[in-house]
Each structure stands twice: as C-alpha cells, then as structure tokens.
Symmetry: C2
Subunit: 298 residues, 2 copies
C-alpha cells in the first residue's frame, strides 16, 4: 500500500496552482515563495510519476492528469476536515461545526425556516450556512460535488441527473400547478412566463402534451418574479407547488389536466458527509418536518 505520500500542504499547493493557473500567484495566495511552489510541484510530479502542469509563458495549465489529481486532492482535504469535525462530534456527543446547505429559493423560504428552528434547538452547536442557488445545469448537485456545500435540497428527479458519486434520496414529490390571473377570458391567449431553472423543463413538456402553444413566452429571473408577474396579469405559468406557496390573492391556482407532472425534491450529499452526525440529523429533522409540514397551509 504505497499510498502516495502527499501531505495536505502539498495538496493545498496543487489546488492553489490549479486555481490561479500560475506558480507565483499560487505562492502569494498561500504566503509562500514561488520557489517553494516550484519545488513542491516538482516533487509531487516525481511522486505521482506524471506531469501535472504544463508550464508556459502565461503560467501553468493543468494537464488532464493534473485535473484528475486536483479533483482528488480537494476530496482528500474535505475528508480530512470532516475527519476532524466528526472526531469532535463523537467525543463531545453532540454535533458541532458548520453545515453548509445549498437549496433553491422556494425551499429556503417556505420549507427551511421551521426545519432550521427545530434543528438549532436540538443542535445549537452547529452553524448552518444556507446558500440559495439557482438549480440550473449541474445546479445544486454541482454545488455539492464541487465541495461548496455539504448538503443540498434539490430536485432529484426526473429532470436532474444525480452523479453516481453523490448520495441522494427523495424526500417528497409535489405536483405542478397552473397559475394565472383570476379573471380571464381564454387562458390560451395569455403569454407563458418561464424562468431558467431545471424544473421549468416540466412546464414545456406538459404544455406540449396538451398541444397548448402560448402566443408568447416571457422569461423571468426566478420563480418569485414569475409569481409577481402573474399577479400583475402579465401571463400564466406552470410551477411546482412549493413555489406557489402562500402566493397572493391576485393569483388563481388550478390543478393540471391530464398527466400531472410532479417534481421530486430530495437531498444530495457526498459520501464523505453522509455518515456525519450533523447531516444525518438534519435529514431526520427534514423528514420530521415534512410529515407535518408547517408549509401545509396552502
């Protein structure tokens, strides 16, 4: 088991060079000399037996192998970090430290408050940092995969593919609803208001299935803007229930005909974090809150 003797400091240097695309910039960002970085990279390359960065005039570009190594390096550092946190958790018998949570707007607004309240009563030592992230592209799962968050509350199916190297499970499924201004002659004459998020794909699918082609499509920044635009009579939209939660009286809500699409919301985390007490407890509280959701007041 000759497990590649790269110390955490070496890994940090690799990551810094990767980030800065430059030995000297990496050196500054770490408070080292350019020489130290150069030596460290060279010794790392000798140990791995592969060139990790192409040095050129413009700085240092990671090779394919370099990319791979840096990805692993980040993971090693995260694992070391959770190792420390977990040790303290186990020793003190209670979770402590920081839990970085990423989620989409509507969950943060309508779902999280009660969850956070219950969680912080049970685990006052845990600081929760909530990041609201739009679920586009790799979206929330990407946030976790990149190590920017420990846990995400996200759409887990069917639009979004969760990479196999992450752990996820569904928490609940919710229907999409049709929302529109209350007084209307023919809904089909109204423009469709969309927003750029993974789950908005469902909107299009359902409309297509209904052979409903809106006269116009208006893009909005996020789901709360969509709501506001609908409230002002600018058009209609198809949105997941959570986004429609406690919206104002100028909006009429109506079930979808036919094959009602549903959005599946769940959590996503890394294999490193999953066995962690803080994460397990947070998921437990989430589940508890969802059986009797405070947001069931729709």
């Amino acid at each position: 088991m000759h497990s590649l003797d790269l110390a955490p400091s070496d890994l940090r240097i690799l990551i810094a060079v990767h980030r800065e695309r430059s030995f000297s910039a990496a050196a500054i960002s770490l408070g080292l000399t350019q020489s130290a970085v150069s030596h460290a990279i060279r010794s790392a390359e000798r140990k791995v037996g592969v060139v990790l960065f192409d040095r050129g005039r413009g700085g240092a570009l990671p090779t394919a192998a370099g990319e791979s190594v840096v990805t692993h390096a980040r993971r090693v550092l995260r694992l070391l970090e959770t190792m420390g946190r977990e040790a303290q958790t186990v020793a003190s018998g209670q979770a402590s430290g920081v839990l970085r949570l990423a989620t989409f707007r509507s969950a943060a607004v309508y779902l999280l408050p009660s969850v956070l309240e219950r969680f912080s009563i049970k685990h006052p030592q845990v600081d929760i940092e909530v990041a609201i992230v739009r679920d586009v592209d790799r979206g929330l799962a990407g946030e976790v995969a990149d190590g920017k968050a420990d846990l995400a509350l996200a759409t887990v199916a069917p639009t979004t593919e969760i990479p196999a190297s992450l752990i996820s499970a569904e928490l609940f499924a919710e229907p999409y609803w049709l929302i529109h201004p209350p007084k209307l002659s023919d809904l089909r004459l109204l423009p469709l208001i969309t927003w750029d998020e993974n789950c908005s794909e469902e909107t299009k699918k359902w409309l297509a299935a209904q052979e409903w082609e809106p006269p116009k499509t208006i893009p909005a920044a996020d789901d709360s803007v969509v709501l506001s635009m609908v409230a002002h009579g600018l058009g209609f939209a198809v949105m997941p229930r959570l986004s429609v939660a406690n919206c104002d009286s100028r909006i009429a809500v109506q079930r979808l005909d036919g094959q009602t699409p549903t959005r599946h919301v769940g959590y996503v985390t890394t294999p490193e974090m999953a066995p962690t007490l803080a994460v397990r407890e947070f998921i437990r509280v989430l589940r508890d809150c969802l059986t009797v959701p405070a947001s069931a007041t729709l």
Copy 2:
C-alpha cells in the same frame, strides 16, 4: 478551511496503533521507534483536539473518537492511492494497476470467466485479483467497506443492506429454483440442505410461506457442496439460478410455486473507486456480458 494537517505517515501511524492496540507494536510494524509513535499520536491528538487512544497497562485502546478518526484515515489513504492510479490512467489514456474484485463462488465460476476475458482484452494493463468470499454478515459489501476490495459482485437486495456510504446498483435479478434428486416419491419427506450465506435466508422464507416443514435440515459448507449432496440424493434445496448453472444430470430443477423469491445481484463499490476508469469499464463489460450472457446455456 483549516483541514487538519495530518500527513499520510501520521495516518498510517494511527491505523497501525489501532490495528496493534499498542504503541510499541505499531512502531515495530512500521519500522519506527516507540518514541516516534508516541510523539506522532500526541501531536495528532493536539491537532484534532481530542484524545484518540486510552493508554493503559495492556497497550492503547482507541476511544470512540479514535475509531472514527481511523475509519476516516483509512479512507484518506485509499483516496490518495486511487488519486495516483487515476493520474497514471488519465496520462497514459488507458486503465492500469490492480483491480481487486470480490465475489461469491457461483458468480466467479459461471459469470466471471467471460467477463474477465473480454475485460483483459480491452484493458490488458489492468491486473484483476478475484477474491471469492462467502456472503455472510457484512459479507461482500463489508469487503469493500473495509478497503479489502475495490469492487464486489454481490447480492444487493433484499436480504443484504448496502450501507449508504457505498455505491451499488443492481445488475440482474434471478429466480430461486427448487432442486432435488430426479426420482422421488414425496419431496416433502426429503431433508432440506442449506448453506451459510446471506441469500439462503430466502430458502426459509419461501418454505415457511408454503407451510413446508422439512423433516430435517442439513447444513453444508457452500452452494457447490449443496449441489453435490442433492446429486447424491441426500436432500433437496432452494437455490438461486446461478448456483444451479450447469449442474449435473442427477439433479432435477423445478420452478417454485407461489410467490417466487428472486435474488438481486449487483455491484458494490466505494465512492472513491466509482469514478475510476477501471471500475467503470469493468461494470460496462459486466453489463454487456449480461445482456448476452455466456452462462445463458441453462
């Protein structure tokens, strides 16, 4: 991100002490002095901020925190190892190194040969070590969880629970069959032959559902022994199809009545190994071979 500056050598020392339950024995096993180990453990404990081993007369016993740290440490080392392997793989464009595969007997005998042949043609640089492990207790998944294997072919449901910190997926499901000597008066008078493996639970369940109480139960060492005993007329058995593959003519095979139990066979691997080229390719070849299985000659 103060990620706990424990170098690989420190981690190895922690693991050795955990294994040997003694500073001095660990020192010997690592070719160090007892003093070095003592210093290292003390400094590790200062860094983590927690006592990791209770020192007493009889040596050093890991505390709960120590257990947790060592588990993580093993994982860090494995991750560093795959980091190196992957770097070489990416740089050379082809998988190389060792792939440690654990599986149960019948898969190794009837499934693997064709898979291994195809895989080694595609990836001649990869050495595959096959370990045949009986699937009892934590069984094959445990083999992977403990880092003794990179990939396991195992029963993934419903008997065995795969821990959430591992990655697994089903490859195929197969029915259980009833096997017995060909000429018989009443099957219910024959003894049941069982063997000690997780999937043999299914046998009992099905018999119970049929209200079939065999007059006697004979335990055998493994499934091949069961087959041989049935062939010699010593009793009957309920076995998954794969175990029954190409068994001899002195055995009669028959479908089960009622709710036919099925065994779900899949792969199990770690999140570290899953994105690895060697593992991904092996699973691909597995899947390919299963759509047109060479063992479809039953």
